[in-house]
């Protein structure tokens, strides 16, 4: 097991660096120039060439890609304010990913990226977690029921319903929820943000209730989006297990169907779910652009998307590096759990 872990860990760093390099190149080779966006004067009607050059120099955009990548990677700051070894003023010697310093946003230098990531994660992570719990909470019993009732009319109707749900585009599903539960429909729920205006003046109980009411629709939209897929996964896994000999043995021993399904089949059927569950982690930091846009939530998905539109290289790289790291760690955790659960893997 220790050797397996060492092997997996050894691959982690090169994989991570590989991902950051690919993202870095993709972002820098894509069209669009942050310097033009920053320097264009709508009144004067032009971007001053000197201003553009100054902006490029300040953000190292005039340096070779390799230098820019090393600056992003750290631990030395290679900018004019950076380490003296590399010709900087020494004011800010260390920086970059390896120095755990993600810097500031390009277009809002007063905003530290790490602070903004914290604010965005505080929105995205709890909502995604709640949605994942809800989706799994529904998918497991539904998937198991579908497997047991395989081929029956009710099961086919459910499958059809789930496929229909799966086919709905995310933004449409979110808007349908808004139409159904907002003032245009039942008028039961707020449709925007996480708090009402003036929520800061509420007592803690009303504040919490306000938060819960605001969270219902985004959590539903996120959960319903993945429900069909998860249910079908559980169903397929369950069907495979139900065909195993030990299940037949359990039945032939005269155990009740409830015990056979609940204790013997379902527990084993959920093994493949370890990988799927681990992949919730990247979603926790990645967020959903669509749900966050429709429900007005300042989360991670929107942060990355807006940075992409604004060509804020620093933010795009920070968000993708974080997502990549969490994805790699989640996959590692899944593999380790799998190895613990299934001896064939750790010895294979």
């Amino acid at each position: 097991m220790a050797a397996y872990l060492r092997r997996r860990l050894a691959w982690l760093l090169p994989s991570f660096l590989g991902i950051t390099l690919v993202v870095f190149l993709a972002v820098h080779l894509a069209p669009g120039d942050p310097a033009l966006r920053e320097s264009f004067d709508p009144d004067a009607g032009s971007a001053d060439a000197a201003d553009i050059e100054r902006f490029r120099a300040e953000h190292l955009l005039d340096r070779p890609l390799a230098v820019q990548y090393l600056h992003f990677l750290g631990p030395f700051d290679l900018s004019p304010r950076g380490h003296r070894w590399f010709g900087g003023s020494g004011e800010h010697a260390f920086g970059g990913l390896l120095a755990l310093d993600l810097g500031s946003e390009i277009h809002r230098p007063h905003v530290r990226i790490v602070d903004e990531l914290g604010r965005r994660l505080a929105v995205t992570a709890p909502l995604t977690l709640a949605a994942a719990l809800l989706a799994w909470g529904i998918a497991i019993p539904l998937g198991a029921w579908s497997a047991v009732r395989r081929g029956q009319k009710r099961e086919r109707a459910l499958a059809l319903g789930l496929f229909a749900l799966h086919s709905l585009p995310g933004f449409w599903l979110a808007l349908l929820l808004v139409l159904a539960f907002g003032a245009a429909g039942l008028g039961w729920l707020p449709v925007l943000g996480l708090h009402s205006a003036g929520a800061e003046d509420l007592g803690w109980f009303e504040w919490l209730l306000d938060l819960l009411l605001h969270s219902i629709l985004p959590v539903l939209a996120l959960a319903l989006g993945s429900l069909a897929y998860l249910t079908r996964q559980v169903r397929a896994s369950m069907l495979e297990v139900l065909a195993q000999e030990y299940v037949i043995t359990a039945r032939s021993k005269g155990l009740s169907e409830r015990v056979v399904i609940g204790r013997h089949a379902l527990r084993n059927a959920l093994l493949p779910a370890i990988t799927l569950a681990a992949l919730i982690l990247p979603a926790l930091v990645g967020g959903s652009v669509i749900v966050e846009t429709i429900f007005g939530l300042p989360g991670m998905g929107r942060y990355a998307y807006e940075a992409l539109l604004e060509r804020d290289y620093a933010v795009i790289q920070a968000v993708t590096a974080l997502s990549a790291l969490v994805t790699l760690l989640a996959l590692l955790a899944a593999d380790v759990l799998y190895a613990l659960a299934d001896p064939r893997i750790r010895h294979g």
């Binding site: 004067a44 201003d51 553009i52 905003v111 449709v191």
Partner: protein, 551 residues
Amino acid sequence: MRLAIPLALLVVLSQACGPDAQAVRPGPPQPAYGGRATIHLEALPKTLNYALETSAVTRRILYELNETLLTEDWNTLELVPNLCASFEVENPTSFVFHLRPGIVWHDGDPFDAHDVVFSALLYRNPKVNCDAKRAQYKRIVEISAPDPLTVRVRYDKPFFRALGSVGDMPILPAHLYEKPGASEDEQAEFINRNPHNHDWVGLGPYKLVSWDGDRIVAKRFDKYFAPERGGYLDELDWLYVKDDAAAFQALLNGEIDLFGRLSTEDYFGSATSSELFREKFFKAWAPSGAYGFVAWNLRRPRLQDVRVRRALAMAFDFEAFKKSVYRGLAVQMTGHGAPEGDFYDRKLAPLPFDPDGAKKLLAEAGWTDHDGNGRLDKDGEEFAIEVLSNSGNAVSETMLVAMQNDWSRIGVVLKPLLLDFNSAKERATKREFDGYLTGWALPTESDPEPTFHSKNASGPTQNFPGLADPEVDRLIEEGQVTLDRATRVLVWRELQHRLYELQPYLWGFSPPRKFAYSQKLHGVEFVRPDPNYVARRWYLPAGTQGTREKR
């Protein structure tokens, strides 16, 4: 003294306008103090420091959070004293502002002439991230504060917008932005990374209390220097919602009180004729000052011939497009400018829709269908033009399809190229297009030099066509130094006629901005200057729960 620059012009256009007009409200109720309103924002500002930022949303918020030396009267559009009690125009290049005494910043510090001088001088520091406004204020060659309540400003040469420009200059609190004894670099860094760029301390009738994520909250400032012009509502919130459909639903849900991005379809359609909407909301429209156009790249040989550009305008059925897409609620443009002002000549008739005439003009320019394949060609080359535009704009995309259809009838092939905003802008700036479908949002009077003068014909400028016409240059230069407004109206109109004759653009439409707002708000007027409304005038009627009679 007042300088009566702009225009006595159209102001209120509201719910009584338009074919689908709502019922006129009964007489206004007695205003009360208290309450809150939430205003929709279609974009989130990057900062509230308008010296560093050019976005319209920052400016809109600062209308209530900050003040300038002069302000445009909402009704008469004249420049009137604001932070100054009076001003003098000593000569066409020198102005003296006498500040009002006793004005305080939102943190309680006194405001004085040093704040104004500091705010003007920051544009001279090349490291401050105010590149977008640097050129505008570089024209100020001298600014001084002979005493704490006097500011003296001198421009390099007469310029028609000089007074308006300094009068509108963003003013920063020097006590929070100035770093005594700092080098140029340190001072710039202190401004660029100043936490007050986010936690703004201003001079307006509303004071920022929080900016958390998408919501910006401001409360009425009790020490505002002009209480008679201060707000009625206790709190103004601005809420960013990117998706317009979601924002409209939030309006219906009572989570937003004013939404300024109603589509034509919703304005005239079922969205605003439902019982729910009619019971609780009003709709209105007001001039936007914005218009769309296709800039022709005059560096491309096939677009250099004015007959070709005129033919393309004559082959597009503007009237049909206006009826189908805008339901008639838009102005067809015949030149540059905000169509509501008197600087723009609305009597200048557009070119007629005449496909046969267009074909004739193209034939004169050598473009005919030599090989009989239904497409025009010349010297073995087909007439195909690539029109660049931003993706995600439904009206632009519809317009491209309509043009493609109309022009195919005269044998011209249009190839649309839709890119995201930044990519499109980069290509446009590098002049990598035949046509560029985009738009301008203009004040009632603007300086045409950036967009049409030959000095901006190359480089990263807004003269997208690369127009270089001596007559246009002459008129621009004449208008810039003409300080008499009536004479300038004639110059700018002559310029408009010349530009329309040259057709560097295929001029499109100026649609109004369309609003929906809660009936709970009273005192809502729609005015010409952006953002078209004056939130400090809004109020809840006396007797509404949570309101009071006195401030």
